[in-house]
């Protein structure tokens, strides 16, 4: 054996010996004596950044606050971000990197539904604890994956709430206008099922393309059917075109949106026609508008950490999901393992956060932990206001 080989063998042996002598805690991925590494994936670039970058900013300010108070059982929280650009293939790559390269302990993430649905299998196989922060597709939480929880609403919960809200407002002739792509179908199908459960039929069932630039035909048909409420299963862009053309043609039904149109102030600007959104109501995952004094603390934190940003509802999504993760980590105790965190999350019952409309409850058989959509509206010239909460069973 040459001298070079002897040195190599000696160093290898030394490395193995040092590794073997490390305490058991070091074998838990992402956890050291003084840190816990949490990963996040979502769109950091592109138009889907609202559902990725902004919630992540919210997570980060919660982590800063926890760390300033000494961390969790003496460990500081670190956030590792990955960009999935709302692209399914990129989302799979992002979670693989977080799990295998960054070796994070747990994940809070998932912005665009199509990307998160694609990443679900990878996340489930890795048995890494995950809290979904913004994606709403039912396929993420149904059937239940043992380690994947969601504090976002789900599309079927929202669809049931949309119909219930219209009925509660006294609507008698309810119509639907929807997109029929993957996103739209994930909401449209449970919406039609909700109609069937109630034993009623939509008076008209219209479609609109995500890139549509005109809704004259749809509006005229809905007006002809005398619909007094329209359930709007559309992205903000086609929804804005629909509301603009509805006003143009003198059609003013109760328009019921969903969390895809989560910012009524921005939506009013997008419609661009004064008064056109006066009868528009939509779902929010959170119970406060960004202007509410109840979230002053978080507004200041966001504006201090991200100069130039103003607090948005999307920040609040991240704040709520991070608070749930923090609670789970606290309950899991100092001898942290992934199994203990999953057990702690499964034990959450009516856990109150600073942002969600109701308590967060997760059980082993149902990881849709947030079932309380709030209703928000913005009347012309006035701030966004919260109208109430629908409890979906």
């Amino acid at each position: 054996m040459t001298l070079k080989r002897c040195v190599k063998a000696g160093l290898s042996g030394l490395f193995l010996a040092v590794a073997a002598l490390q305490p058991g805690q070091a074998q838990v991925p992402g956890v050291t004596a003084d840190t816990i590494k949490i990963g996040s994936f979502g769109a950091l670039t592109g138009p889907g950044y609202l559902y990725g970058k902004l919630p992540m900013n919210g997570i980060e300010v919660v982590f800063d606050q926890v760390n300033a108070a000494g961390g969790i059982n003496g460990r500081k929280l670190e956030l590792v971000r990955e960009d999935d650009r709302c692209d399914p293939a990129a989302a799979i790559g992002a979670v693989k990197k977080l799990i295998h390269e960054d070796k994070v302990f747990a994940i809070i993430g998932g912005g665009c539904s199509n990307a998160t649905v694609a990443a679900r299998e990878t996340l489930a196989e890795a048995r890494i604890p995950v809290i979904i922060m913004a994606s709403v597709h039912d396929g993420i939480t149904t059937p239940v994956a043992p380690t994947i929880f969601s504090t976002a609403l789900t599309s079927s919960l929202e669809s049931a709430a949309m119909l219930q809200f219209a009925l509660d407002q006294g609507a008698k002739r309810i119509a639907v206008i929807s997109m029929r792509d993957a996103w739209g179908r994930s909401r449209y199908t449970p919406l039609i099922e909700a109609f069937q459960k109630k034993g009623i039929k939509p008076v008209l069932d219209e479609e609109m393309a995500p890139d549509a630039n005109d809704a004259t035909a749809q509006v005229l048909r809905l007006k002809g059917a005398n619909a007094d409420a329209v359930l709007v299963v559309l992205y903000p862009k086609p929804a804005a075109i629909f509301m603009r053309d509805a006003q143009k043609l003198g059609f003013k039904p109760l328009a019921v949106g969903q969390s895809g149109i989560a910012d009524p102030a921005a939506f009013e600007d997008q419609v661009g026609s004064p008064g056109a959104t006066a009868s528009f109501r939509t779902i929010s995952m959170v119970r406060y508008t960004p202007e509410d004094p109840a979230v002053d603390k978080w507004r200041k934190a966001i504006e201090a950490k991200f100069p130039g940003d103003r607090l948005s509802v999307f920040n609040l999504f991240g704040i709520g999901s991070a608070q749930v993760m923090v609670e789970g980590l606290k309950r899991a105790g100092p001898d942290l393992t992934r199994e203990k965190l999953v057990a702690a999350l499964n034990g959450l019952k009516d856990f109150e956060t600073d942002v969600y409309p109701g308590g967060i409850t997760c059980v082993e058989t149902d990881h849709r932990c947030n079932k309380n959509p709030a209703w928000i509206a913005k009347e012309p010239g006035k701030p966004v206001r919260v109208l109430g909460v629908t409890k979906v069973e």
Partner: protein, 293 residues
Amino acid sequence: MELLVYLLLSGLTTGSLYALIALGIVVVNKATAVINFAHGELFMFSGFVAWMLHVQMGVPYLPSLLAAVAFGFLLGAATDLIAFRPLKNANIISLVLATIGIAFMLRGTARVIWGGKGDYLPFPPITSPEPIMIGGIMVIPQQLAVLAGSIVIMVAFAAFFRLTRAGKMMQATADNAKAATLAGIRIDRIYMLSFGTGAAIAGAAAALMAPLTLLYPDMGFSFFIKGFAAAVLGGLTSLPGAVLGGISIGIIESLAGGYLHSSFIEVSAFIVIMFVLVVRPTGLLGSTRFRRV
């Protein structure tokens, strides 16, 4: 009757935008026999330039529109320099792939520049946003402005093509590039002018369209598909055909949505195109001559 009038008006407005996009595609195709797959992104990019000037910097609408047209021209000319000129002797697949590459590059750049400012960016209407009544029909003034603007641009373009020296040289090159070379026309410049003119029309269409809809970095492809369909329906080499194709598609979509069901809006135009191409493979006004320059 009222329903028909509303549907025709909305079809005409949307169709005139499709026609402007189709015109740009046809101008490039006539001169170079290449479909510029980056045309939708040139349209999108010019729209954002108009938005940046008008909304962010407070420049009045008309100068913003003109700047979008000028910027579109420069971007189109750059497409010629980057994606066409170095490959003009390569096979058609390479040329098409080069334009697709440009499309992805422009979309990616737009996402970086404008992708983080809002999911869909509104462009304020250039007229009063309040609907007005014309002969018992409710109309958004912006729709009339778009329609009028589209007609002005089409007429100006026709005049440029028929009356100016550059337009005539473009026509001559499109008809016979070898003969044009022999006549002393520098066809490389004409190709650049064609790419630039096509993109300039797209820039005008984008600035006109922006107040009616919303801007987002991924919008180019769907407009390109509609414009391309209009160009194919019109004949791919015919400028009047592009206008006819665009307006036809707009009206077919609108009537199908109003009288059949809204699910027919997206497919109706393509069904008609398939039928027309089976009966008349060169399109409504296209010529049978089609060659690679």
